[in-house]
């Protein structure tokens, strides 16, 4: 829990209420709330009409012994359920990372404070577009678009819930009483069925950054219908709850934290810079190149993906390793970064990414879209053609890495700090698992600072969602973080664009920024 106490967002309180008689003739609701106030120190306790309707019977079913399921944050409490007796039903929660591409759910035992199981699957919204923009367009432009796309994410999460429950047979869906979701701003809007139209239109305003707590039945999740559904708060249109969650997880906003940087190397390229005092954040829209998309032979990191390669500087021959040692069928993100570094070191491309077509190797040739370099000959692949990297691919990768680095420089610039001021760089995202830091520095994707300062943190969005479920303190901190993160709009002014253009070279136009990279 990274220093936060185990104090889940939802807990059971077992109460023995004074029995009603002619002397103590208070009404049932008053009897219950007074006891709760005493027990919890909460002054503001909300009980819904649905629960009150049958309260009289419930209190008397076990002679005024009741178990109250309560969600309590910052002195305010919401009664989720009142049940007769002092039973020992388990209490489960669900933390869901709603990624644009992948949705991951963690099943937690809230009383023991541990993760029981996890499940992941593709976000079914993908059939309406790979990126958030296409989905906004679909939701806004098509008849019933929002309804359809909202239902898609609900179905996706319900599938995960089913998977988890099937794997954990003793757990019933009605025992899941609280859900925490974290996703980017668009995902949060679509999950709750909020119109996302203005997120993409200048000046890029989301409908809400802080979302109401709703009941599971209101959104259609297949858990206990009265379960409370929390949504991580967002910062701006393109910096959402997933990043706030990641920021919480890294602890970079903790009171005495030194200056650090969190980078999510994904399609949106969100990053956060700051310390305990201040936090600035932006989204650099790197595009999906490092996830293999938009690259001729790009692919996800799975069986048969080239993840590492060498190019002989004399003979220009290529040797490589693939995931699971399968026959190569493409290159994944880390392979692409590695490849770019090697192409440059061997002089196959120049600093601008232009292919040196005069090289005397048959691997260099002119393909349909211009110059290309053969990495694997057809006979060695599991395809019926050569695996190549083209000049257009290289340019695409340069733009993606340029956007990330320019984002970092822009954030530093707005607060007036140098790269040297950063104590730790947290690299997040599914991609982070396969990232080779020295290669990334060689091509200028990441700043040239000592490797010890880098830390892989993986899927921080899901981890932060779990933390918030297990600790009220963490959840309150997450809300305070979202309130103090300052969003920097990169499309205003020339700063980002100047930095971006300067970053379209390997490693950069300004070589003094990369003193340890030899060319």
């Amino acid at each position: 829990l990274n220093g936060y106490p185990l104090n889940p967002l939802c807990r059971r309180i077992r109460l023995t209420l004074p029995v009603a008689n002619l002397q103590d003739n208070r009404d049932d609701l008053n009897r219950l709330t007074l006891a709760l106030k005493k027990e919890t120190k909460c002054t503001d306790i909300n009980i819904s009409l649905a629960i009150i309707r049958n309260l009289g019977e419930i209190l008397r079913a076990a002679h005024f012994k009741v178990t109250v399921l309560l969600s309590e944050v910052g002195g305010k409490a919401e009664v989720i359920a009142v049940e007769p007796g002092h039973g020992h039903q388990p209490l489960y929660g669900l933390a869901v990372d709603i990624g644009t591409t992948t949705v991951v759910a963690y099943l937690l035992d809230l009383e023991k404070g541990r993760v029981i199981d996890t499940a992941g699957t593709h976000n079914r919204q993908a059939r309406f577009g790979d990126d958030v923009i296409s989905r906004i367009v679909y939701a806004v432009d098509e008849t019933d678009g929002l309804k359809t796309i909202h239902q898609c994410i609900i179905d996706t999460i319900n599938t995960l819930i089913m998977d988890l429950l099937v794997k954990q047979r003793q757990i019933k869906e009605s025992d899941i009483r609280v859900i925490m979701t974290a996703g980017n701003t668009t995902m949060a809007h679509l999950f709750l069925g909020i119109n996302p139209k203005f997120i993409r239109l200048e000046p890029y305003i989301p409908t809400a950054n802080f979302f109401p707590v709703v009941k599971a039945q209101e959104v259609g999740l297949r858990v206990n219908p009265d379960a409370l559904v929390f949504s991580y708060p967002s910062v701006a249109s393109y910096v959402g709850g997933d990043i706030v969650s990641g920021t919480l997880f890294t602890g970079m906003g903790n009171a005495d934290a030194p200056i650090s940087l969190l980078i999510d190397i994904g399609t949106n390229g969100e990053m956060v810079l700051g310390s305990g005092d201040w936090l600035v954040t932006c989204s650099c829209s790197a595009g999906p190149a490092f996830e293999g998309s938009g690259i001729t032979y790009g692919m996800r990191a799975m069986h048969g993906a080239i993840e590492r390669l060498e190019i002989d500087p004399q003979t220009y021959e290529v040797s490589y390793t693939t995931i699971n040692n399968g026959k190569p069928i493409g290159i994944c993100g880390s392979g692409l970064i590695n490849c770019l570094a090697k192409l440059r070191r061997t002089g196959i491309i120049d600093r601008a990414g232009k292919f040196q077509t005069s090289l005397s190797t048959e691997r260099m040739r002119i393909g349909e879209t211009g110059p290309e370099y053969v990495l694997v000959w057809r006979d060695d692949t599991d395809l019926d053609r050569d695996i190549v990297i083209s000049e257009a691919d290289v340019k695409n990768l340069l733009r993606a890495k340029g956007a990330v680095f320019a984002g970092i420089r822009s954030l530093l610039n707005v607060v007036g700090f140098e790269l040297e001021s950063i104590e730790t760089i947290y690299v997040a995202g599914g991609f982070g698992n396969y990232l080779n830091i020295p290669d990334a520095i060689t091509i200028g994707l990441l700043p040239d600072i000592p490797i010890e300062k880098y830390k892989y943190v993986g899927n921080t969005s899901a981890k932060g969602a779990c933390m918030a479920l297990l600790s009220q303190e963490a959840w309150m901190e997450a809300n305070s973080l979202a309130g103090k993160m300052t969003y920097i709009e990169l499309s205003v002014g020339n700063l980002f664009m100047d930095e971006f253009v300067s970053s379209l070279f390997i490693p950069h136009t300004d070589l003094t920024l990369f003193p340890n990279v030899s060319l």
Binding site: I133, E202, A236, S285
Partner: protein, 448 residues
Amino acid sequence: MALTGLDIFKQLPKTNCKDCGSPTCLAFAMAMANGKASLDMCPHATEAAKENLGAATAPPVRTVKVGVGEQEIVMGDETVLFRHDKTFYHPTAIAIQIPDTLSGAELDAKIEKVNGLVMDRVGQKIAIDMVAIVNASGDAATFKAAVEAVAAKANFALLLAADVAGLEAAVPAVAAKKPLLHAATAENWEKVVALAKANNCPVVVKGNGLDDTAALVEKVAAQYKELVIDFGNTQQAKTLAEMVNARRLAIKKKFRPFGYPMLACTIATDAKEEIVEAATYVAKYASIVCMKVDEKPLLLPLMAWRMNIYTDPQKPMTVESKNVYEIGAVGPDSPVYVCTNFALTYFAVEGEVVASKIPGYIVAVDTDGASVLTAWAAGKFVAEPIAEFVKNIGIMDKVNHNTIVIPGYVAIISGKLKEKSGYEVVVGPQEAAGIPAFAKARYPHLMK
């Protein structure tokens, strides 16, 4: 050195309450550092913060206003020495002199001519800003009459240039128009400043060179701060150097006596040389240039220059969207490529169209300098705006076909674009690098 956003942030209450209109305290601090917000917008600022930040965030160059209503001119409030560091905010006001020796029909004709110094440039109205009535006669009554006559008819703010007697006679009559008084000098400043103060008008402090002017401004500023500085132009090069030094001192060293707008009167006698002289002052920090030329053809380039210098450079790099770009020896059969006006996008496309060796037209849709996917994401490069843009630019009248080529990444809009525009929409390659192959396959007959 000005305070950074973080310096200011340290003094703020850090409530992130959004009451100031900024989403966070840090965002507000950054806006303050950029001069886009002031501390009084924060209802929770402590007294200590107000004291610490008040002086430090005070603008290096004071804002001074002349004229009222539509004739009002805002001067000063500049923060940089080079426009590319941020921007120059308030364009140099151009003042045209009218001597009070003119009278009757002569004077009327002159006023009419000066009022006519209004021109159109790139769809915007540009004009002179001030009329300077000069007490050339040396007589106070004559001056007063001329000032009243000009004030009744002139469409611009007033600059009154006279000695104490002349100013005392004329100012009360036109004080409601908030004229700028010229000038308080070492000899007369007490009287002129008292007059300015009494009539609530800004006043020019005219010294002789840097040291002398600084000393005089210090004396005047103790009593009145609605000031404009005049270094008493005697040589153009010297005035240029003085204005550069004064602005440097005001911004870099926070030297208060030079923290005011500056005025320069041209001294060149030849009209063309006068324009060149004025152009120098426009580029180098003058808030007002007072000149004699009143010929439109001579003033137009000066005003265009002023407009260019004071354009906000913090805009994305773009190519002109008004033109259809012709790449090579185009003809009625040539393909029409549609891209955005983001410079990097345009030049990527242009380079590849050249490389295809097939002449073609490029239409750069105005997307405020956003790239294809960025503009698409923001709803600026979608069917309706593209259809309208292509129609308005008239490219389809130049060709004998009905086909436009759009970037492969926005293939999704092709159906709607065809429907909205009535053109045949061909989806080109995703990358500009694919244009040569695409063009060769599609237009082999056009190959040279």
